[in-house]
């Protein structure tokens, strides 16, 4: 039995199964990974105010560090995401949010793309319908069409040769 266990031990060591156990596993930088996760998801959608367009989550500036610490405190106090966002907006205005809040001045922003899409598709359909009607109106007789085709072939040959 002992020999078997020894053999097993050697086998497993060689295969590296104990790597994690023997080498120390690094500790997370954050004290509380759950809080940290929430911090990242909240601060990713906020702007670093002293940077040129970086998120609060990514920036390493002093103010960003301070604000992230502040948010950690708020999270530990049990505040909801909404409350934390409100906290930041109270002090820094809507500018700090990367996801523009939906209020009257941003209706155009949020509805805009879908409005343009609807207009585009509607425009397309109207154009296609009208075109087909036009085409029907100008439909020529079969003979006329043959004549036209012949003429076109000749002129195309000419223009592709210079």
């Amino acid at each position: 039995m002992k020999r078997f266990l020894l053999f097993l031990f050697v086998l497993l060591s060689a295969s590296g199964a104990f790597t994690n156990v023997l080498a120390e596993e690094a500790t997370p930088l954050a004290d509380d990974p759950v809080v940290e996760q929430r911090l990242i998801s909240i601060s990713e959608e906020m702007r670093c105010l002293v940077c040129q367009n970086e998120s609060l989550s990514g920036s390493r500036s002093d103010l960003a560090n301070d604000l992230r610490q502040e948010i950690r405190t708020l999270i530990k106090e049990g505040k909801t995401d909404e409350q934390i966002r409100a906290f930041m907006v109270e002090r820094y205005g809507d500018f700090v949010l990367y996801r523009p809040p939906v209020k009257p001045i941003t209706w155009l922003l949020w509805i805009g793309p879908f409005l343009i899409l609807l207009l585009g598709i509607a425009g397309l359909l109207i154009y296609l319908r009208r075109r087909n009607i036009e085409m029907v109106k100008t439909d020529l007789s079969a003979e006329d069409n043959q004549q036209i085709d012949a003429l076109l072939k000749v002129s195309e040959k000419e223009s592709s040769h210079d």
Partner: protein, 639 residues
């Protein structure tokens, strides 16, 4: 003395470009042959002058001539030679000179490769390009002269921002500008045909390869920029919807629409005025992008140092060029004739529908980018529009487009039987659904978003494979066909990359002492310590990490924390172990107490498929350009 020659060359180039712009256009209008024929030689002279000017600026950087203000502001004697060269376009003045030089390059290429085009058309095209060159040269000479002197000369330069001291700087801007500027050719062709009053299919045939070429460069330029940001910035992001990034992406979207629309105009003579409008719009967006980046109206890490005078000039230039083009369009476009007839279920309709989605996407990104400016201009306050907005809006618009991509190539010109199309595609649909269910399960976590991503990507791939199989039975496919398949495949690969990284990447932020390991994505990364490493113009703390799997060391990674002599901000150089199916990304943070270090590690599955997809798109375009229709013209030239 030498920089003055560079300046003189610019002034001369301005004069000749003025001739190139004005005389041929009047000549074409009045039928004056003597003025018409000035176009090509003028374009060649301008090219030579601008090449001279550009080389002189490059020489000033190479020779460390700090009596030139621009060199003193962007370079430094300790800067490695290759970055001294990249620094030529590291700032506003130099990058603008690069812009104009590339414009003149495209112009001279058009002048050389258009021997079989009629003289009036050539004159108009080169004339329009000449006018644009003139305007930009005026801008450079009055507000942005790169050869301005510094008296007394500086002892040494301020050096280049450490973030820019990277091979990315050498390739990304030139590639990007080749794309941006390349759309001017399609623009010039469009204006030329509006001016001549002949909006026929010939214009489309000529425009197509030039537009495709510009599109290829733009695709590569954007991809390079994204990849550069990924490995350079130290935290693994690859797209931030930053205003300057958007400024290059919006023309790309319109350019893609233009490519497809040109195909229809060339083959079927339809959509003429729509294609002309797209051609005008694509280049206008390039100009708009130039304005946004250099005028200071938007906040961005990419924005150049600003000066309100420059902003005003570019805005006036933009208003004149685009305004007059759109006015010309409004007057002349209605006169054109309609192309062939096509039904609602034809390929024409599908391409047009695809165009709608692309243009709507471009419009949405533009809306989001400009909205803060809009609100501020109306004194309604300051808001930010960032990635959450763009992601929420862009993805839903692109989804139907991906579906269309799988269907469109199955439809026929003029008319097609939709029932037949559906019958041929059912297998692709099945593959897509299977992928949507299986792959998330295999990756370990099912989310609707990732499922949809895989479904759309495999829909496109499966549809493409079925097309290839069908085509192979019918004989040898054309390069056009192959190009299309590869480009569409590229998009699918891109989507897979984005979906994988978005849904399944892992990130760990840890504090590490020497000997400790952190596991991520099935790998173990062991910290082996940090050593001091001097560099050419910096001092670095160089970390050593072993990347292991199943106890075996697969690679050793060396992320660095650099302190450049010319800057107070420390810079992070991440270490990446790249692979076909994943990147392992290690970034060194700050040194903590008791000799521990803050370390960030990422497992990014399939992230390289993002740029791989872009490479495939560009390759597809390249293959399409070498189609025999265009090669005939080239052979004729050489003969």
């Amino acid at each position: 003395m030498i920089p003055e020659f560079g300046h003189y060359a610019l002034i001369l180039a301005f004069c000749v470009a003025l001739i190139q712009g004005v005389l041929p256009l009047i000549g074409a209008h009045q039928g004056r042959r003597e003025w018409l024929v000035l176009a090509r030689p003028a374009a060649q002279v301008v090219f030579l002058l601008l090449a001279t000017s550009f080389l002189i600026l490059a020489w000033s950087f190479y020779a460390n001539d700090f009596s030139v203000l621009y060199v003193a502001e962007h370079s430094n004697s300790q800067l490695p030679v290759i970055y001294r060269f990249g620094a030529v376009w590291g700032g506003h003045e130099g990058s603008l000179l690069l812009w104009i030089f590339l414009l003149s390059t495209w112009t001279v290429l058009v002048s050389q490769l258009s021997k079989s085009l009629d003289d009036f058309m050539v004159a108009r095209v080169i004339g329009v390009l000449g006018l644009i060159t003139t305007g930009l040269l005026l801008f450079v000479l009055t507000t942005s002269n790169p050869f301005e002197r510094l008296f007394p000369a500086a002892q040494d330069g301020r050096s280049l921002n450490p973030l820019l001291q990277d091979p990315g700087l050498v390739f990304h801007p030139p590639m990007l500008y080749m794309g941006y500027v390349g759309f001017s050719v399609a623009f010039a062709f469009a204006i030329a045909s509006l001016l001549s009053g002949r909006l026929d299919a010939a214009w489309a045939r000529w425009s197509r390869p030039w537009t495709t070429a510009a599109w290829i460069f733009l695709t590569l330029g954007i991809a390079l920029g994204s990849w550069w940001a990924y490995y350079e910035l130290g935290w693994g992001g690859w797209w931030f919807w930053d205003p300057v990034e958007n400024a290059s992406f919006i023309p790309w979207l319109v350019g893609t629409a233009l490519l497809h629309s040109l195909a229809v105009t060339e083959k079927r003579g339809g959509f003429k005025s729509w294609t002309v409008l797209l051609a005008i719009t694509a280049f206008s967006l390039s100009l708009l992008g130039t304005f946004l980046v250099r005028s200071g109206v938007l906040t961005s890490v990419h924005a150049f140092a600003t000066d309100p005078r420059r902003g005003i000039f570019i805005l006036i230039f933009l208003a004149l060029v685009v305004g007059s083009s759109l006015l010309l369009y409004a007057i002349r476009a209605p006169k054109n004739t309609m192309g062939g007839k096509f039904s609602l279920s034809s390929r024409e309709t599908f391409i047009l529908l695809g165009n709608v989605f692309l243009v709507v996407a471009a419009g949405s990104v533009l809306l989001g980018t400009l909205y803060p400016l809009l609100i501020d201009a109306l004194h309604l306050g300051k808001i930010s529009v960032g990635p959450p907005y763009f992601n929420s809006v862009f993805v839903p618009i692109m989804t139907p487009l991906l579906v269309l991509m799988g269907v469109g190539p199955w439809t026929s010109w003029k008319d097609s039987n939709l029932m037949t199309v559906v019958k041929r595609l059912w297998l692709a649909g099945l593959v897509a659904i299977v992928a949507a269910i299986l792959i998330p399960k295999v990756m370990g976590d099912f989310t609707w978003l990732s499922s949809m991503g895989f479904m759309l990507a495999f829909w496109v791939i499966a549809s493409g494979c079925l097309q290839i199989v069908r085509q192979a039975k019918a004989g040898l496919p054309t390069r056009s066909f192959i190009g299309m398949q590869i480009a569409h495949l590229g998009i699918a690969i891109f989507v897979i990359g984005v979906t994988m990284v978005g849904a399944y990447q892992e990130e760990k932020d840890v504090r590490m002492l020497s000997g400790e390991t952190v596991s991520v994505g099935g790998y173990q990364i062991q910290f082996q310590g940090v050593s001091d490493e001097p560099g050419p113009n910096y001092r670095a703390m160089r970390g050593t990490f072993s990347l292991m799997r199943h106890g075996k060391v697969e690679a050793v990674l060396h992320p660095e924390k650099r302190n450049y002599f010319s800057s107070t901000m420390p810079m992070t150089e991440a270490a990446i172990n790249a692979g076909l199916t994943r990147d392992i990304y290690v970034s060194l943070g700050e040194q903590l107490e008791d000799s521990a270090w803050a370390v960030r590690v990422y497992y990014k599955p399939f992230v390289d498929w993002i740029w791989g997809g872009c490479l495939l798109m560009a390759l597809g375009g390249l293959i399409a350009i070498t189609d025999k229709r265009y090669r005939v013209k080239l052979r004729k030239l050489v003969a």
